[in-house]
C-alpha cells in the first residue's frame, strides 16, 4: 500500500518537482505559489523514504519493471536519504525565501521572477533524481540536468553574473565530459553500469584505474576543489541569494556525493594510501586557499563563496581518514554530517547576505557598517550560522568536525586533526573580521530599503537548525550509517 512502498516515494520525489516546474512555466502568474506548495508537499515523500530506510535498510525500485542494464533503477540508502533531506531543507526554505525575494513588486521579481521558478524546480527535481539514481549513466544525465538548470539560475541576475555563468557552464561541461568518458571506459571494460553490480566485478586493472581517474577529475571540477575552484566564487557571489544558497549548499555536494559512490561503492579497487593522502592535501590546500581569500574579500557574498571553497576542502579529508581502517566509520559519518551541517549554515548565511544586499543596495563591507542595529534578525541569523561554519559547539559543524578529528586520532593521522582545527581558526578569522563591521556603532545609520520579514526569518530558521543539528545528532548519524561501506561501532565507547 502507498505509505509502505518506497518506490512511490522515490518516484514522487522526482515527479513532483518536475511537474511543478512545468506548471510554473506554463502558468507564470501562480508560479511562486506552486513552488512553495511543492516545497511543503515534498517533505512527505522525504520523510516517508527516510522512515522506510530507517526501518528496513537500503531500498531500490525498477522503473517500469525493467531492470539493469537497460532499465533505470532507483536506490536509496542512508547517504541518499541524507542528500535528499539536505536538498529538501535548502530548496524548501529557499522557496519560501524566494517567494519574498522574487515578489512581483520587487526589482528582482520584475527582472527574473518568471524565469526563476521553473528553473528552480527543475534543479530540485534533477538533484532528487541524482541522489536516487543507481547507475552511472543515469547519474551523468541527472548531473547534466542539474548543471543546465543551475547555470541559467546564476544568469537570472544579469550583468556581471552572465560572465560567471558562462564560465561555470564551460567548466561544468568539461567536468561532465571527463566523467562521461570514464563511464564509457567502465562500460567497455566491465560490461555494466549498475552501481551494486559494479562493486562485485570491479578489478584493479589500468582501464578501471584510468576510468576512475577521469571520473574523479571531472567530479573534482564540479566540486570546485583546489586547484579547479576558480569558477565558484564569481558564480556564487553574483547569483541571486537563493541561487547562491542552493549552489553552495547542495549542487557542489552532488559532485562529492558521486565521488563517494564511485570510490567507496562501485570501484573500490582499494585506492592506494598515497592517492588518499593526495586528496587530503588538495583538501587542506582548499581550506587554506579559500580561507586566505575570504580574509581579503571586499564583498560579503564573495567572502561566503570563498568560505564554500574552504569548507569543501574538509570533505576531501574523508579519503585519507578512511584509508587506514580504524576510525573509518567516524570519518565517513563525520564527512556526511558535515555536508548536512554546512548546507544549513551556508544557505542561512547566503539568505542573510541577500537580505543585507536588499537593504543596503550593495554588499561591499563599507556599506554594511552597523548592520547589527538595522537588521538585527539577519545579523543574528548570520552570527548563529557562522558558529556552525567555524565549527564551534554546539552546532552541527562542530559535531561533524569532532567526528573527523576523532577519526584522525584513531587512525594515527594526527596531522589531519591539526588541519581541521587550524581551518576552524581561519574561518573564525574571516568571520570575525566581518563581525567587526556589522557591530560597528554608526550614530546616524543610512536609510535602508525595507526587507521582507520572510527573508530574515528563513535565514534565522536555518541557522537554528544548524545549531539543533549539534544537539540532536544521534538520530541523524544512525540514519547515515545505514548502507555505509563500513561496519562496526562509531568509535571507542560508541
Amino acid at each position: 500500500m502507498f505509505p509502505n512502498d518506497p518506490s512511490a516515494w522515490m518516484v514522487m520525489l522526482i515527479v513532483l518537482p518536475l511537474a511543478s516546474a512545468t506548471l510554473s512555466y506554463v502558468a507564470a502568474g501562480i508560479a511562486r505559489w506552486v513552488s512553495v506548495a511543492a516545497a511543503f508537499l515534498t517533505t512527505i515523500p522525504v520523510l516517508g523514504l527516510a522512515l522506510r530506510v530507517w526501518h528496513s535498510g537500503a531500498v531500490s525500485h525498477r522503473i517500469g519493471g525493467w531492470g539493469a542494464p537497460l532499465g533505470i533503477e532507483l536506490a536509496a540508502d542512508g547517504l541518499s536519504v541524507l542528500m535528499l533531506t539536505l536538498s529538501a531543507i535548502v530548496c524548501g526554505v529557499g522557496s519560501v525565501y524566494g517567494f519574498a525575494y522574487f515578489a512581483p513588486e520587487s526589482d528582482a521579481g520584475k527582472k527574473g521572477g518568471e524565469r526563476f521558478w521553473p528553473l528552480w524546480l527543475f534543479l530540485w527535481g534533477g538533484l532528487n533524481a541524482l541522489f536516487l539514481s543507481a547507475d552511472l549513466f543515469n547519474l551523468y544525465v541527472t548531473l547534466e540536468v542539474v548543471g543546465l538548470a543551475a547555470v541559467p539560475l546564476v544568469a537570472v541576475a544579469g550583468a556581471a553574473a552572465l560572465t560567471a555563468a558562462l564560465r561555470y557552464l564551460l567548466i561544468s561541461l568539461m567536468g561532465s565530459l571527463c566523467y562521461l568518458l570514464g563511464v564509457a571506459i567502465v562500460y567497455v571494460h566491465l560490461g555494466t553500469l549498475h552501481l551494486p553490480t559494479l562493486a562485485s566485478v570491479a578489478d584493479g586493472s589500468p582501464a578501471t584505474g584510468s576510468a576512475l581517474a577521469l571520473m574523479s577529475a571531472g567530479l573534482l571540477m564540479k566540486m570546485a576543489v583546489f586547484p579547479l575552484h576558480f569558477w565558484l566564487p564569481p558564480a556564487h557571489a553574483n547569483a541571486p541569494a537563493p541561487v547562491s544558497a542552493v549552489l553552495s549548499a547542495v549542487v557542489v555536494k552532488a559532485g562529492f556525493y558521486l565521488l563517494l559512490r564511485i570510490w567507496f561503492g562501485a570501484l573500490t579497487a582499494a585506492p592506494a594510501i598515497e592517492i588518499a593522502q593526495g586528496f587530503g592535501v588538495l583538501g587542506a590546500a582548499a581550506i587554506l586557499w579559500g580561507s586566505l581569500n575570504a580574509l581579503r574579500a571586499q564583498r560579503f557574498k564573495m567572502l561566503i563563496a570563498y568560505s564554500t571553497v574552504a569548507q569543501l576542502g574538509y570533505l576531501m579529508l574523508v579519503f585519507p581518514l578512511t584509508a587506514r581502517g580504524t576510525g573509518a566509520m567516524a570519518a565517513w559519518s563525520g564527512a556526511l554530517y558535515f555536508m548536512l551541517a554546512h548546507a544549513c549554515a551556508k544557505a542561512s548565511v547566503f539568505f542573510s547576505a541577500g537580505a543585507a544586499l536588499r537593504a543596503f543596495g550593495g554588499d561591499r563591507l563599507e556599506q554594511l557598517r552597523g548592520t547589527a542595529t538595522r537588521l538585527p534578525v539577519a545579523t543574528f541569523a548570520f552570527a548563529t550560522a557562522a558558529v556552525s561554519l567555524i565549527g564551534l559547539p554546539p552546532s552541527g559543524g562542530f559535531m561533524a568536525k569532532w567526528l573527523m578529528i576523532q577519526a584522525a586520532f584513531a587512525s594515527g593521522q594526527w596531522w589531519w586533526a591539526l588541519v581541521i582545527v587550524g581551518g576552524g581558526l581561519l574561518a573564525a578569522g574571516y568571520i570575525f573580521r566581518f563581525f567587526s563591521t556589522l557591530f560597528a556603532y554608526v550614530p546616524e545609520p543610512p536609510t535602508i530599503t525595507p526587507v521582507p520579514a520572510l527573508m530574515e526569518w528563513s535565514a534565522l530558521g536555518l541557522a537554528f537548525l544548524s545549531i539543533l543539528l549539534g544537539l540532536a545528532a544521534e538520530l541523524p548519524i544512525e540514519l547515515i550509517r545505514i548502507g555505509a561501506p563500513y561496519a562496526g561501532p562509531l568509535w571507542l565507547g560508541g
Binding site: 558562462l166 557552464l169 564551460l170 565530459l177 568518458l181
Partner: protein, 109 residues
C-alpha cells in the same frame, strides 16, 4: 594489426584530448564551445566503436542509447552556452564597459 573498432575508439580518445586542449587554450567563448563539442564527439565515437565489440557478433544497444542521450545533452548545452555568450557580447547599461571575450572576471571582486 589493430581491428577497426579499436582504431575508432583510439581516434575517439584522441579527439577528446584535442578538444580538451582546445577548451583549455582557446580564448574566445565560441571556440571553447566548439572544443567542448569536439570532446563530446570524441566520446560518442569511442562509444559507438565500443558497441561494435559485442562478443556474439551483433552490436550492443546500450552504448548507442548512451550516444543518443549524449547528443541530446550536447545540443541543449551548446544552445545554452551560445545564448549566454551572445548575451555577454551585447553592451548593457548596468556595467561600466562591455566585457571582452576570454577576459577574467575582475568585476566581481
Amino acid at each position: 594489426m589493430i581491428d577497426t573498432p579499436t582504431g575508432y575508439a583510439a581516434l575517439g580518445v584522441l579527439l577528446f584530448a584535442m578538444g580538451l586542449l582546445g577548451l583549455v587554450l582557446g580564448r574566445h567563448p565560441v571556440r571553447k564551445i566548439l572544443a567542448l563539442n569536439v570532446m563530446g564527439t570524441g566520446i560518442f565515437l569511442f562509444l559507438v566503436a565500443a558497441a561494435a565489440r559485442d562478443s556474439s557478433g551483433g552490436t550492443d544497444p546500450v552504448p548507442h542509447a548512451m550516444v543518443l542521450t549524449g547528443i541530446v545533452v550536447a545540443v541543449s548545452a551548446t544552445a545554452l552556452a551560445l545564448a549566454l555568450a551572445g548575451r555577454i557580447q551585447q553592451p548593457y547599461a548596468e556595467t561600466d564597459a562591455p566585457v571582452q571575450p576570454g577576459e577574467p572576471d575582475h568585476v566581481s571582486e
